[in-house]
Symmetry: C2
Subunit: 154 residues, 2 copies
């Protein structure tokens, strides 16, 4: 459970300033309970502070990424998403029916694959953070098909 305080520390340690914008951006991500796009962060922060610009969001996200505060996920939904970095490696199942995403434990599901690739090919897979799309059980039950034609939605 990181608290607001941390951002100050982390930023100062890196010789950066904990500006209001940065604090707002971080809490916007925190308050979203998941992974958000830059655009979504922009909208959230604008409720508090109208003048924030998308460039600031992107610059801040890059900074946060470098500092290990957030991590990036590409859910293949057009734009990159960001979430608060956690110590435990994990991935996402993204339902193309309802858009929801689910936590996928690394050790149990992904590590075996990583090891297999390493053993069989000597390939050191970078499975830091990725997303598997598909249909969640609910959507399957309600008879949706994997109408995942990408582009367009939203």
């Amino acid at each position: 459970m990181l608290k607001e305080m941390d951002i100050g520390e982390t930023l100062k340690d890196a010789g950066r300033r904990p500006t209001p914008q940065r604090v707002m951006i971080l809490s916007a991500i925190r308050g979203s309970g998941g992974h958000v796009t830059a655009e979504e962060i922009l909208r959230k922060v604008r409720k508090e502070y109208t003048f924030i610009d998308i460039a600031t969001i992107y610059r801040t996200l890059q900074l946060f990424k470098r500092l290990g505060l957030v991590s990036e996920i590409d859910l293949k939904q057009g734009s990159t998403r960001y979430e608060i970095a956690e110590k435990e490696k994990h991935h996402h199942l993204v339902c193309s029916g309802c858009g929801k995403s689910f936590y996928l434990d690394h050790k149990r599901f992904i590590e075996p694959l990583r090891l297999a690739l390493l053993n069989d090919f000597g390939f050191e897979a970078d499975l830091e953070h990725f997303a598997v799309s598909g249909l969640c059980s609910q959507c399957r039950a309600s008879g949706k098909t994997s109408s995942n034609d990408s582009k367009g939605g939203r």
Copy 2:
């Protein structure tokens, strides 16, 4: 071994014309021995026919995709790549050191994951075609680090 002929059949069956552009685009992909970007196809085809436009490439790629002639891969390297569609499902290992990519068999490596997700979560993963980035054995041997900072390169 599909031959040039097939494109004619496939297109005609779909009520489309096997135009020179389309033939050239398909053989450009074939002749690339792997997965290519739209831009790369453009360059290849232009050697034969200077006036081809990138829009035609994209339109044709969409058409080919719909007809099942090519499949799309997002190697996360900026632009989408395309390759000749094969019957056997497979994926790619993409080395972030040398850029090379390697074939990854579906049944052996990915199907187990798919089944696990289905059993454990009832999640029907759409693991059609994806790419795992990392370092190939050669690059590991030659001491490269996973300097995969994405964006920017080229």
